[in-house]
């Protein structure tokens, strides 16, 4: 039971990628997602692929976790590739099968799109694989900080996220407990027609909601008793710190961008 309680896909580790400031990771991924669409030559794709694969290898996240992240999009990648094969009519004709004509342009574009997809998914899943949800929350709070000026409740949003993270396992344990209690009374969630199963979920949800509201009320009181009064004047235990690895990776990434724009064709 305990293993299934890990939220998100975080794979604990102590690699350089794990230790990077979460803000660095988010920033770089943000720009990476952007510049992937500027690549249009073999070398420019190559440089991005090397960057992504190097990050993956240094993170030392087992390959099966990365493949797991890719499974939902395999289909999409293959589908777009095939689509391009059939519809793109550029370049030279390379293959002719009755009414179907495949052109070199189709193969190249199909490949290009697939590589883009692959890189995007790889890099974004690296973020969640090497960063705890709470680190991501901290980073978001810090990066959205300027929005405070336009009265956007940044601190409240981050607190909401961290409390959700705190209570998800608790509520999952509780769901498990209630469903076992209901099952012991003969409620069947797993077999039978959908309609019956949906009905069986009601006696599970009602007590869950009731208890969640009670929790919320008590938690609010406990927080108040411990002096919570909004984000103002608050200090933080968890500290975000830009280290020398972060600076190094920024410089490296600047190089990647420079080479990319140098080697792409206009």
């Amino acid at each position: 039971m305990n293993n299934s309680l890990i939220i998100g896909q975080y794979v604990p580790g102590n690699s350089i990628v794990h230790r990077l400031d979460p803000r660095t990771k988010i920033t770089i991924i943000f720009f990476f997602v952007f510049i992937v669409f500027f690549a249009n030559t073999l070398i420019s794709y190559g440089i991005l692929t090397i960057f992504a694969l190097t990050s993956m290898i240094t993170s030392r996240v087992p390959i099966r976790f990365i493949l797991k992240g890719l499974t939902p999009v395999w289909f999409l990648i293959v589908f777009t590739f095939i689509l391009h094969l059939f519809v793109t009519k550029e370049g030279t004709l390379i293959f002719h099968l009755s009414i179907f004509k495949f052109y070199s342009g189709g193969v190249i574009q199909g490949l290009a799109i697939s590589v883009r997809f692959f890189l995007l998914i790889l890099v974004t899943s690296l973020l969640t694989l090497t960063t705890t949800p709470i680190e991501i929350t901290d980073a978001i709070e810090d990066m959205l900080h300027p929005l405070n000026k336009i009265k956007f409740p940044v601190h409240e949003l981050a607190l909401m996220m961290s409390i959700s993270l705190r209570f998800i396992p608790t509520l999952m344990q509780e769901t498990d407990k209630i469903s076992k209690a209901q099952a012991s009374r003969g409620v069947d969630f797993r077999t039978g027609p959908i309609k019956d199963r949906a009905k069986a979920v009601v006696p599970l949800l009602v007590p869950l909601f009731v208890s969640a509201f009670k929790r919320a009320e008590e938690l609010a009181m406990a927080m108040e008793a411990r002096g919570y009064h909004g984000g103002e004047g608050r200090t933080k235990l968890r500290e975000l710190k830009i280290g020398k690895h972060d600076i190094l990776i920024y410089i490296l990434f600047a190089f990647v961008i420079a080479i990319l724009f140098y080697t792409r064709s206009y």
Binding site: S162, R166, A222, M223
Partner: protein, 278 residues
Amino acid sequence: MRKIIEFRNVSFRYEDEQPWVLKNLSFEIYENEWIAIIGHNGSGKSTIAKLLNGLLFPQEGEILIDGKQVNQDTIWDIRKDVGMVFQNPDNQFVGTTVQDDVAFGMENRGFPREDMIKRMEETLSAVGMQDYLLTEPHRLSGGQKQRVAIASVLAISPQVLILDEATAMLDPKGRTEIMQTVTDVQSENELSLITITHDLTEVVQADRVIVMNEGEIWREALPREIFSLKDQLREIGLDVPFITVLADELNQLGVPITQEPLNHEELLEELWTLHSKT
């Protein structure tokens, strides 16, 4: 002795037109004192705790904490002086890990980071949870969560620590754990302690006991005096501990037990003394 808490003719009700929950309550609590508040369910114990912390305000009378009146303007200071541990271990655990939870109160009060880390180590050691800094709450037992809650409150060095039925949802092992922790904390810190309970066995170590009944103070006395009032305690809905009942029965059978025993050891001691005399 310095007076830390004073209730002066306090009356409280949750809504107008509803019956009073606390009726003209007056009592005092001194520095370093351990007070147990006991009473049946709904006798107003939790309401007293919430009034002490400024979570509620009385309609009549006034409450003073270390000379300061509890009102909207002072709650910020008051909550620094009065720390509270609630009944449900899960619903007061705010942080995603033990260290985040202990830090929460200090973060709210703007402690510098270095102080937080230092206080965190001190208070977690005081409750024996120093090895769990990065543990998530769902991997802790109820008793461990309550010990973290105590550490969180101690971290801001309050003058008063209130435990509102903090053991009620725990198994026997968890209860022993918490009672032991509380005893240690009380002896090692300059701290007034208020333990709220409906279980008579938990008042034994207190310096003084306040018995609540229907929103009024029914009796204020030493634990031993309270234990001797068994029949009347039963009348106001409290369970009398087994050892007290046993001593009573022995007395009726002609075994002359002179002192009201507070626990097994005391009764045993008494019986041995009697045995060696005869």
